[in-house]
């Protein structure tokens, strides 16, 4: 392998890093909000629960790549959409990719939140009722902290999953790390060096995220923090 080529390659690929991170963070934020709404819908009524079920079924059951293609290419085929107020947004590949990532992330995250909310043991909730907590206080002080701790490992996997999924945005002309890598390959024909370097960038990012989530898990683990220290804080 040519060391000069590799040294030149790293900054080229890293120039796509801001876009990769941006897509990851915004899709997780947007997806998280939609996921909360979906859980609200689910708790609201039976019809709402069916709608949420169908949403999850749709977005978990089809490939993200196809979702990106559909959101990118389908609206432009209809002239009434092309002449409507949404087109200035949907015209941008960035918006299309982000929308697809968000909607997809929401489906997975809503299920993670649902599993977390179910984790609060009946006994703990009953104790809170007996202790005279209002429903809102119960949610804030018992159910949500337990749900958060329970959902954290699964959500950590979702974060790394989204981080890697952003690489699909390169199919709609976005120049993220993967987009730059494939353009570089078709220009230099050095597939091994370029794709390996890109993979290492993702590996480093995933390692950092995994480490961060693990630290958070440890910090939130009741066995590691004595109760006295908690009440003092």
């Amino acid at each position: 392998m040519d060391i000069h080529f590799l040294l030149g390659l790293i900054p080229t690929l890293l120039s796509g890093l801001p876009l990769t991170l941006e897509l990851t963070v915004f899709s997780l934020l947007g997806g998280g909000v939609i996921a909360l709404l979906l859980n609200g819908l689910r708790a609201g009524s039976i019809v709402g629960a069916r709608v949420a079920d169908f949403y999850v079924f749709l977005f978990r059951g089809s490939p993200l790549l196809l979702q990106i293609f559909l959101i990118y290419y389908a609206p432009g085929q209809f002239s009434f959409i092309r002449h409507s107020f949404v087109w200035p947004f949907l015209r941008e590949p960035y918006v299309c990719a982000l929308l697809a990532l968000m909607l997809n992330d929401a489906a997975y995250t809503s299920e993670i939140i649902r599993a977390g909310l179910r984790a609060a043991p009946r006994g703990a909730i009953e104790a809170a009722v007996v202790g005279g907590m209002s429903p809102l206080t119960r949610l804030r002080r018992v159910i949500l902290p337990l749900a958060f701790r329970q959902a954290l490992p699964a959500y950590g996997i979702e974060i790394t999953g989204m981080l890697k999924s952003t690489s699909l945005a390169s199919v709609v002309t976005l120049m993220d790390v993967t987009g730059i890598a494939s353009a570089e390959v078709s220009q230099t024909y050095r597939a091994i060096e370029v794709f390996l370097t890109a993979a290492v960038i993702y590996l480093v990012l995933v390692t950092l995220v995994t480490y961060g989530v693990q630290r958070l898990e440890g910090w939130l683990s009741p066995t590691r923090t004595p109760l006295s220290a908690r009440s003092a804080a």
Partner: protein
């Protein structure tokens, strides 16, 4: 043989040795194989495309069939995405690539080319309604001619200032835009030609750049919604026309292809194929 640890190790070592010697065996066998696989995109009409029943058809498949007949070779066209096509050739996945690939000095460092079978020029297409009007009106500019190139590029840069141009990734047209117009336009690169076409009709890009023959096909398909506009360019970064690409050690295969192609250019067969698929002669003079 039971699967013990030592048996497993022995088998793995044998396997690894086999993998390691594979490339040497292949390198030593530069003679023409019984079946010559030729990769094409099958998505670059009318050069190559897929018929509704899945066959690869077009100008190039017809040309390859004629080359095969003349050189008595068994040539099979296989489809392969443009992205990674040349890496697949150098990696030995097929013997040749035939996908309207222009001869450029950069590519010649990596692969060998036959004699060219097109003259090669590139231009721009826009939507008829609301698309920018580019200067030049079809005048061909040879990029090696500085005196003609400079004013043409300056006029184009002015007309295209702030516009978004679509182009297929890692093509000579992409090189042209990067070299001459990068500062005045936004370049969007696509994995395949039809994607660029689609986004021009969708209004995501203001203009596209592609080979003139490709643009002719796009305009025809759009049923008059899309038009060709502006100068056409050739030479320089846009290369010297298209040729079949081969690995540099495939000397015998290149000789066979060259002989057949030269014959086809001389006796007018290739011109006939060009008239059939393009309705105009895009082949080099005999």
């Amino acid at each position: 043989m039971s699967l013990t640890r030592s048996n497993f190790l022995r088998a793995s070592l044998l396997g690894a040795a086999g993998l390691a010697t594979g490339p040497f065996i292949r390198a030593a066998r530069a003679a023409i194989p019984a079946v010559v696989h030729i990769a094409t995109e099958a998505a670059f009409p009318p050069f190559n495309m897929q018929s509704p029943d899945g066959k690869i058809i077009g100008f190039e498949p017809d040309m390859v069939a004629e080359i095969a007949r003349r050189s008595r070779l068994n040539c099979v066209m296989v489809s392969q995405a443009w992205d990674g096509m040349i890496a697949g050739l150098t990696g030995g996945k097929y013997e040749a690539v035939c996908d309207s690939i222009s001869i450029t000095p950069k590519r010649e460092q990596v692969i060998a080319f036959t004699v060219p079978y097109t003259t090669g020029s590139s231009g721009f297409a826009v939507m008829k309604d609301g698309g920018p009007v580019l200067p030049g009106n079809g005048t061909q500019i040879v990029l090696d001619d500085d005196a003609a190139t400079k004013p043409a590029v300056a006029a184009l840069a002015k007309a295209l200032s702030g516009k978004i141009l679509g182009v297929q990734v890692a093509t000579i047209q992409n090189d042209f835009l990067t070299k001459y117009l990068k500062d005045s336009i936004t370049i969007r690169t696509y994995a395949s030609g039809p994607d660029v076409y689609l986004d021009l009709t969708n209004g995501r890009i203001d203009a596209l750049m592609a080979s003139s023959t490709n643009i002719a096909a796009f305009v025809k398909r759009s049923k008059g919604d899309m038009i060709r506009t502006g100068f056409t360019f050739t030479g320089g970064v846009l290369g010297l026309g298209s040729a079949i690409g081969l690995r540099q050690d495939e000397v015998e295969l290149k000789a066979a292809f060259d002989t057949a192609l030269t014959g086809m250019i001389k006796d007018g067969t290739l011109r006939g194929l060009s008239m059939k698929w393009f309705g105009t002669d895009i082949t080099p003079a005999a």
